[in-house]
C-alpha cells in the first residue's frame, strides 16, 4: 500500500484520465440519446393510440425488469449473435439484395463503446421516460384545455405549453438520472468498455495497488457528482428565486 508511489505514477494518471474521459463521453452521449428516446416514448405513453402506449409499456417493462449488466451483455453478445445467425441463413438467398445483407450480417460485430452507449441510452431512456411522464402529469389539465380551446392541436399544445412547464419541474430528476448514468458506466465496463473502472482494474492487475487506485477512482466520481449536484442546486435556486420575486412583487 504505497500511496506516494502510486500518486506519482504517470501511467496511472494517463490510464485513469483516458478512462474517465471515456466515462464522461459515453455518459453525455448516452444521455443526449436517452433524452430524446425518453421524450418520444413518454409521448407514446400519454398518446391516445393503444399501440403506442403498449410499445411504451413493453419498453419500460423490459428495462426495469432486467439488470443493467444483463442489458449490456445482451447488446454486446446476444444481439450480434442473433444478427449473425440471421445473416448466415440469408447467405444462400436468391434475392441479391438479401444475399448481400446476409454477407454483412453474418460477420456482424459491435464495438464495446458503441454497445456501452446503446445500453446506457436504452436504460436511461426508460427512466427519463418515466420522469417526463410524471412531469407532464403534474401539469394542471386546465393548461391543455386552455391551449386546445384557443385552437392549438394536441401536439402543438403539448410542445408549446405542456412540455416547457413539465421539463422545468423535471430538472432535479433529470440531473439525478445524469448522476446515475455516470456511475452506471462502470457496470458496462464488463463488456470491455475501457472506462475508468476498467482501466483501474488493469492497472491493479499489474501493480497490486488496490487501495490507492480505488481511492483515486472514487475521488474522480465524487468530484464529477459534486459538480453536477452544485449545478443542479443552482438551477433549483434560480427557479425558486424567480418564484419568490414574483410573489414579492404582488405585495
Amino acid at each position: 500500500m504505497n500511496f506516494e508511489k502510486v500518486l506519482s505514477d504517470g501511467t496511472l494518471w494517463e490510464m485513469l484520465f483516458s478512462g474517465f474521459l471515456y466515462t464522461v463521453e459515453s455518459t453525455l452521449l448516452a444521455l443526449l440519446i436517452a433524452f430524446f428516446l425518453g421524450l418520444i416514448t413518454c409521448l407514446f405513453g400519454v398518446s391516445r393510440s393503444k399501440v403506442l402506449r403498449a410499445i411504451n409499456k413493453f419498453y419500460l417493462w423490459i428495462i426495469r425488469g432486467t439488470p443493467l449488466i444483463v442489458q449490456a451483455f445482451y447488446i454486446y453478445f446476444a444481439m450480434p449473435q442473433l444478427i449473425q445467425v440471421i445473416g448466415k441463413s440469408m447467405l444462400g438467398s436468391s434475392v441479391p439484395m438479401f444475399a448481400a445483407m446476409g454477407a454483412s450480417w453474418a460477420t456482424f460485430r459491435i464495438e464495446p463503446f458503441t454497445a456501452g452507449v446503446v445500453t446506457l441510452s436504452l436504460n436511461a431512456g426508460a427512466y427519463l421516460s418515466e420522469i417526463f411522464r410524471s412531469g407532464i402529469s403534474a401539469i394542471d389539465k386546465g393548461q391543455m384545455e386552455a391551449a386546445r380551446s384557443l385552437g392549438l392541436s394536441k401536439g402543438r399544445a403539448m410542445y408549446r405549453v405542456i412540455l416547457p412547464q413539465a421539463l422545468k419541474i423535471c430538472v432535479p430528476s433529470i440531473v439525478n438520472q445524469f448522476i446515475i448514468t455516470l456511475k452506471d458506466t462502470s457496470i458496462v465496463s464488463v463488456i470491455g468498455f475501457a472506462e475508468i473502472v476498467y482501466q483501474a482494474k488493469i492497472y491493479i492487475g499489474r501493480t497490486m495497488d488496490s487501495f490507492a487506485t480505488w481511492t483515486i477512482v472514487a475521488c474522480f466520481y465524487l468530484l464529477a457528482v459534486t459538480i453536477l449536484t452544485i449545478i443542479s442546486k443552482q438551477i433549483e435556486r434560480r427557479m425558486n428565486n424567480d418564484e419568490k420575486r414574483a410573489r414579492k412583487k404582488r405585495v
Binding site: 386546465g142 384557443l150 385552437g151
Partner: protein, 252 residues
C-alpha cells in the same frame, strides 16, 4: 397563412340538437336542445352537478358528446371530419380557474395563440395584446407574470387572451366563482361591456344579478335537462316550473 374556414349559411349561430353525454355509466346530459342567435347573451344557471359545465364543454368539444349534434356557424363540431382546431379559433373560452400559462408574461399569454397559429405577426399580436389589455384595464401589467396578479386581474387577462383570436362566440364557465367577492365586479363589468358590443355569449354563472342585467335569455338546467328558459324577467320573477322556483328560492 393557413386555410381559413369557408363561411357557411346557417340558421342559428349555435344549434344543439338532442345532446346526450355519458361518463361511463353516469348520464350527465339527457337530451339538451338549444339555439343561440348571433349577438345573443345566454346565461345558464342551475344547481351544482346539473351538467352546466359539461354542456358548455361539449360546445367546443372539450368533452365529446355521446349522442346528438352540436352545430356552430353551420359546422357540426362533433363530426369526425370537422376541423375542430379551426372551429375552436372562433370560440373563446374562459375557465373558472383562469388557466393562464404561468411561464409566460401577461402579454405573451395573449400573443401566444395568434402567433403560434400564424394568425398574426408578432408585431400585430403585440399591438392587439396591448389594446386588449387597455380594454380590460391592465395595460400596466403587460410584463407581469400571472402569479403576480390578483384573481380578478388574472381572469381579465384570460378574457383578453380568448379575445386575441378574434372569436365571434365567447363561452364562460363560472368566471367569477373562484374570485374573492370584491373582485367579482371588475370581471363582470368587462363581460358586460363585451355583451354591449354585440358579442355572442354563453355564460354559466351563479351571478343572478349579472344574468338579470345582461342576459337576453336565461336557461335553467337541472339533472341533465333544460328545465325552463326565457327572458330574465320570466325566469326570475315568474318561473313556471316547480324545480326552477325551488332553485331560485335557494340562490336569490
Amino acid at each position: 397563412m393557413k386555410k381559413e374556414l369557408e363561411k357557411r349559411e346557417y340558421k342559428h349561430k349555435v344549434n344543439v340538437v338532442g345532446l346526450h353525454k355519458y361518463f361511463d355509466d353516469l348520464q350527465v346530459l339527457k337530451g339538451v336542445d338549444l339555439q343561440v342567435e348571433e349577438g345573443e347573451v345566454v346565461c345558464v344557471i342551475g344547481p351544482s352537478g346539473s351538467g352546466k359545465s359539461t354542456f358548455l364543454r361539449c360546445l367546443n368539444l372539450l368533452e365529446v358528446p355521446t349522442k346528438g349534434t352540436v352545430e356552430i356557424d353551420g359546422y357540426v363540431v362533433n363530426d369526425k371530419k370537422a376541423n375542430i382546431n379551426k372551429i375552436r379559433e372562433n370560440i373563446g373560452m374562459v375557465f373558472q380557474q383562469f388557466n393562464l400559462f404561468p411561464n409566460m408574461t401577461v402579454k405573451k399569454n395573449i400573443m401566444f395563440a395568434p402567433v403560434d397559429l400564424k394568425k398574426m405577426t408578432k408585431a400585430q399580436a403585440e399591438e392587439k395584446a396591448m389594446s386588449l389589455l387597455k380594454r380590460v384595464g391592465l395595460e400596466d401589467k403587460a410584463d407581469a407574470y400571472p402569479k403576480q396578479l390578483s384573481g380578478g386581474q388574472q381572469q381579465r387577462v384570460a378574457i383578453a387572451r380568448a379575445l386575441a383570436m378574434n372569436p365571434d362566440i365567447m363561452m364562460f364557465d363560472e368566471p367569477t366563482s373562484a374570485l374573492d367577492p370584491e373582485m367579482v365586479g371588475e370581471v363582470l363589468s368587462v363581460m358586460k361591456e363585451l355583451a354591449a358590443q354585440g358579442m355572442t355569449m354563453v355564460v354559466v354563472t351563479h351571478e343572478t344579478g349579472f344574468a338579470r342585467d345582461v342576459a337576453d335569455r336565461v336557461i335553467f338546467m337541472a339533472d341533465g335537462y333544460i328545465v325552463e328558459q326565457g327572458t330574465p324577467e320570466e325566469i326570475f320573477t315568474n318561473p313556471k316550473e316547480e324545480r326552477t322556483k325551488e332553485f331560485l328560492k335557494c340562490v336569490l
